[in-house]
Amino acid sequence: MLEMSHLRVVYGSGSDAVEAIGDLTLSVAEGEFVCVVGPSGCGKSTMLRCLAGLMSPTSGEASLDGERIAGPPERMALVFQQYGRSLFPWMTVRANVEIPLRAKGLSAADRTSLVEETVGAVGLADSLDRYPWQLSGGMQQRVAIARALAYQPEVLMMDEPFASVDAQTRADLEDLLLRIWAEFRVTVLFVTHDVDESVYLGDRVAVLSKSPSRVSQEVVVDLPRPRDQLTTKADPLFSDLRTRVLRSIRQEPRSPAPLIER
């Protein structure tokens, strides 16, 4: 459903040129949960920006259902890492979740029911009329997820969404995301630099190399679902997969000293 073929991105020109993405080919099937993991500064965000239609690649192409992505596609939502900046501080939670629905031209009744359903799904029904800055970081990111869900995308892309919340909140948010994924049946492309997170969440983990990045390995995660922070992470298969992903990052020939923040 979501395809990248020979994606290449170069910033600048001439002698200042920086090759952020070398040659990236990856596909995500409908309903699949794919994690992309790689060291910081490996071009993960650049890749997402191309997929979201916020920038165009230097060469190669990204496509959604066979259609080339030129601008932000209608059936796609993106959750940014910086929850504090991606929510509009002048709008209440309700208005923040509702604004994309207005743009879609939904009726007032449809908007209200969607907003209440999705905000309820992330457990913030009580906070509909509060402002984002009155909420904790984890709650703000849940609002951002609710906004993405209310948009009713077929593909949900997430750019290190849990990287700046504390560990406990992060575990809660991971479980929340898995529940939502099962409930709303969306395709998820989840970018992270956390190996454990990628194995815990994904059906498949794509490991990116340092930039200019390419996919150095794909690992299929055949852990049973539903998953659970305690039992899944205690599963010997989990540590197996985790080791495989880690090793593939470390054996990455271009980076003798692995830069994994873990």
Partner: protein
């Protein structure tokens, strides 16, 4: 506790008036009439005889010029702020125009618009437009680029992007410009009435001096002070309502950034 503070301020103000009175008595100069006479002149003139003939027309002119400046300044500022080609092209021209002391444009305005209402409105508007325009440009440019990306990802059309994202994001900075322009509007209203008018507060004050009614002159100055104070108070109250989110957000981020401060304070 709060009432004691207010009472103390009232007392201090009383001391200030007393000093004025003593100075007036000691100098015994026609230039500094005793307070009683100033207050009597104030009551005679402004309760309520001259409210309609001078105060209201003055405020009306000011409001018209200010509103015009706000509309043009915010409109042009949004356009210039969101387009870098326009911004660079108009840069030097706006730098020069805003550097002209606004009263210097008074003769030009009298030339083109004559001595009537439109002249005063023009002068007030052209003086007020620059702080509003430049602050709007800064507000648009200084807005978090993330807001724009979110708006693009969720495919907001350009109208709702402007109305619901660009303008609110720039609003705190626009308010700074609007506030700076408020006192400029007052100044230009007074000057334009001094130079070319047959009523209004500026005219009243200057005429009082020329005919040596110095108690009236001081009463007029007092009235101008009151008008200035009231306008500012109204503005601040409005800003608090409209930008409540901004104050709340700042308070929230201060509290989380400096938890120690909050405890010790």
């Amino acid at each position: 506790m709060k009432w004691r503070g207010v009472l103390a301020d009232v007392a201090r103000f009383g001391v200030f008036l007393l000093l004025w009175q003593l100075a007036a008595m000691a100098l015994d100069s026609a230039f500094l009439p005793p307070l009683g006479e100033v207050f009597r002149a104030f009551a005679d003139s402004f309760i309520f005889e001259r409210i309609w003939s001078d105060v209201v027309p003055s405020i009306g002119r000011m409001a018209a010029g200010y509103a015009l400046a706000a509309a043009v300044g915010v409109g042009a500022g949004l356009m210039i702020g969101s387009n870098w080609v326009v911004r660079r092209t108009t840069g030097p021209v706006t730098e020069f125009l805003r550097a002209i002391p606004p009263p210097a444009l008074l003769p030009f305005a009298m030339l083109v618009f004559g001595f009537g209402l439109s002249m005063k409105v023009f002068v007030i508007a052209i003086g007020c437009v620059w702080p509003i325009l430049l602050n709007t440009v800064d507000g648009v440019r200084g807005a978090d680029p993330m807001f724009n990306e979110v708006a693009r990802v969720y495919r907001l059309d350009s109208r709702s992007r402007l109305r619901r994202v660009v303008i609110p994001a720039a609003a705190p900075q626009i308010a700074v410009g609007l506030r700076a322009s408020l006192s400029i509007a007052l100044i230009l209203m007074v000057i334009s009435e001094m130079v070319a008018s047959t009523n209004g507060l500026g005219y009243f004050v200057l005429q009082a001096q020329r005919t040596f009614r110095l108690d009236d002159m001081w009463a007029g100055i007092l009235m101008l002070g009151i008008v200035g104070f009231a306008l500012n108070a109204v503005f601040v109250a409005g800003e608090r309502r409209v930008l409540a989110w901004h104050r709340g957000m700042r308070a929230a981020s201060d509290a989380s950034a400096e938890p120690m401060e909050a405890v010790s304070a």
